[in-house]
């Protein structure tokens, strides 16, 4: 009798499980009818997600062969987890948003496919060189530029007026300004949690980037060390600060005791939403160093996975090309604050009118001319961690650039060697 009851209980449990899984599956199976479905994982939330959904709907209405289904996977860290799990279990979508620096890892994993066969020749012709270089890895196009932003300088015009200063053109000027206002209890410049990007910029401005296209590491050359000292010395003199656990230097900038803030242009919308009442701020391109301008471009790209069918691949390329059209890329740029990707978009009269109306967006757009992106290589994620650790040690443990950058040089050389 008691066994019977136990059996019944187990049976019931099994039944629940089977029904639930059956329900899930039957619903998933019905959605594949005539148009080819392109699944698209992205990391956009809130307003950006709505903007992207609008573009997706436009594409779906513009033709009948393909249907793009976008799904937000939370922030970029969760999106990365999803892609990793999907790659391992062979359940990847057709396309996904990811950073081009992941491409080498994906190629090694064998789950990503080049876009070249599906793009019309010259499809990327009008794209800015700053974005273009990152699209290729080993002479093939893997990453399609999508949501790109530039590092820029935020400043408070009131504070500049009060201190009698102007927007600095060079890093030397910037650090002098910091010293000038130090006595008045003001800080010169606030960085984000890490000053990695600014360091990357400074070293690139010496003429040799931190890592060259031939994967030569340039972390502790005399020129690189001198460039590192620009920021390090400011931090030591307390004319510059990093955001620490605030994450973003904007918190400190908004407190009104900081002249400048080096941040991402992607932060403009959220800064507009969260600036204190009456606090006015403007933007400018980052200062130059040794007569050179170089601003690192950050952001994400679109990639196509190998598991996609030929029809899906063609559809994915059609969708990407659609996003690059003048109308779409300018719409995207205006709504999100990301950069328009083509020269045609930049020349567009409507976009120029938009910039005239929204002067804070100008700085990032001016920076595209001298924008650059890191070279992607296998082991880049490890190098990235090493770089972030080096800057952190200079910040919180006051390690000298000679020591921190020396270690970074050795670590990076080892990483590159191991991943050759």
């Amino acid at each position: 009798m008691k066994y019977l009851r136990q059996l019944l209980l187990y049976g019931l449990g099994a039944l629940v499980v089977v029904t639930l899984s059956a329900c899930g599956r039957s619903q998933a199976a019905t959605s594949t009818t005539r148009p080819v479905t392109i699944t698209f994982w992205h990391g956009m939330t809130d307003q950006h997600k709505a903007t992207l959904n609008h573009l997706i709907t436009q594409f779906n209405r513009s033709q009948t062969r393909y249907r793009v289904v976008g799904s937000s996977q939370g922030d970029f860290a969760s999106l990365q987890h999803k892609i990793m799990a999907g790659a391992k279990a062979h359940t990847l979508p057709t396309i996904a948003q990811t950073a081009y620096t992941n491409v080498p890892t994906y190629v090694q994993g064998g789950f990503i496919t080049p876009l070249d066969p599906y793009l019309k020749p010259g499809a990327l012709k009008d794209v800015y060189p700053a974005f273009l270089k990152a699209t290729t890895y080993r002479d093939r196009t893997y990453a399609f530029p999508f949501s790109k932003s530039a590092r820029i300088l935020f400043y408070s015009p009131q504070l500049l007026k009060r201190t009698g200063l102007r927007v600095p053109r060079t890093w030397a000027e910037l650090s002098r300004d910091g010293q000038k206002v130090h006595a008045q209890g003001l800080t010169g410049v606030a960085f984000d949690q890490s000053f990695m990007s600014e360091l990357d910029d400074l070293i690139a401005q010496t003429g040799t980037p931190l890592i060259s296209d031939q994967l030569k590491v340039n972390a502790n050359s005399p020129a690189a060390l001198k460039a590192t000292h620009v920021i390090y010395d400011m931090l030591q003199q307390k004319t510059a600060t990093t955001a620490g656990t605030d994450g973003y230097g904007s918190t400190q900038f908004f407190a009104g005791k900081t002249l400048f803030y080096c941040g991402s242009s992607a932060a403009i919308p959220i800064m507009q939403a969260s600036a204190p009442k009456g606090f006015r701020w403007q933007t400018a391109p980052l200062p130059s160093y040794q007569g050179h301008h170089a601003t690192s471009i950050a952001g994400n790209d679109l990639v196509l996975f190998k598991s996609a069918s030929p029809a899906q691949r063609r559809g994915a390329a059609a969708f990407m090309t659609f996003l690059l059209q003048k109308r779409q890329t300018t719409y995207w740029a205006q709504k999100t604050g990301y950069l328009p990707l083509t020269k045609a978009a930049q020349r567009d009269t409507k976009f120029q009118a938009y910039l005239a109306k929204h002067p804070t967006a100008k700085a990032a757009n001016q920076s595209i001319k001298f924008g650059f992106q890191d070279v992607a290589f296998r082991g880049y994620p490890q190098y990235f961690m090493a770089l972030s650790q080096a800057t952190d040690q200079m910040t919180s443990q006051h390690q000298t650039p000679e020591k921190a950058m020396g270690r970074l040089q050795r670590q990076t050389e080892r990483i590159i060697k191991q991943n050759r």
Partner: protein, 297 residues
Amino acid sequence: MLNAKPTLKSTLVALLYLAPLLLIVGVFTLWPLLTSFLMSGYTHYNYFTNHVGGFGGANFSYLWHDPNFHLALRHTLIFVLGVVPATVILALGIALLLNRITWLATFFRTVYFLPFVTATVAISLVWGWLLRPDNGLINLLFRTHIDWLNDPRYALGAVIMVCIWQNLGVNIILFLAGLGRIDRRYQAAATLDGASTWQRLTNVTWPLLLPMTVLITVNAIVTNFKVFNQIYALFHGTAGPGNAALTLMYYLYQQFYVENQYPVAAACGVVLFALILLVTGLAALYFHRHAWWEGRR
């Protein structure tokens, strides 16, 4: 019956009772554990194509030579030592007090439960503000100007503080449940015998509460060895200034999800597992010696 010798039949019956749990645990815990143990020995491994280049101890020797791993190991041990005894003792004390009051009892019990239902992200944010150097409440309280979260000397201490506080809720509930099932007649009898509060505590409550204390201690050790979320949220996605709050779990996360060094992460998982096993084993041994592990029988 309880003292009978096991037979084939009694074993089969017991297996019927155990089957559902064992099935789920076997498929979703034991199996993946075995695969990741295996992975910790892979060299030149391609995680996605599953191509194994070789088998050996290279990943463990990587850990052995990685200063960050040493840092993580040290921090984890300090962290567990800092959190576990404090949280268990505090929770016991608070539970005993909560168990004695009647007026506003529901209110107090709910309040002490709050940190546990508050999302970690929210807690970390709030503590982030409490720990600020300028006008942070903690600094106002201690009359200090410490930048708790951005100074490598204090960062781990700050995490310990937050975790003790957050762990209290669970442990208080468990202690309350343990106290709740102690027969009040024992207490009454002891009171009639003229036992003082302290005597009732040590001679009646404490022995009866032992099984629950064992559970709480073991659980606290296990969960705190695996601390990750609080650190990730408190330090805005980093392991603290100068890696001051880098723990083994954080190291594992970094290796796996950020640096894509899957076998190294698996090796770290093995070390972490062995370490927890060792420490809980020691605790269990201690409990065994005092016959607490098996209860009163």
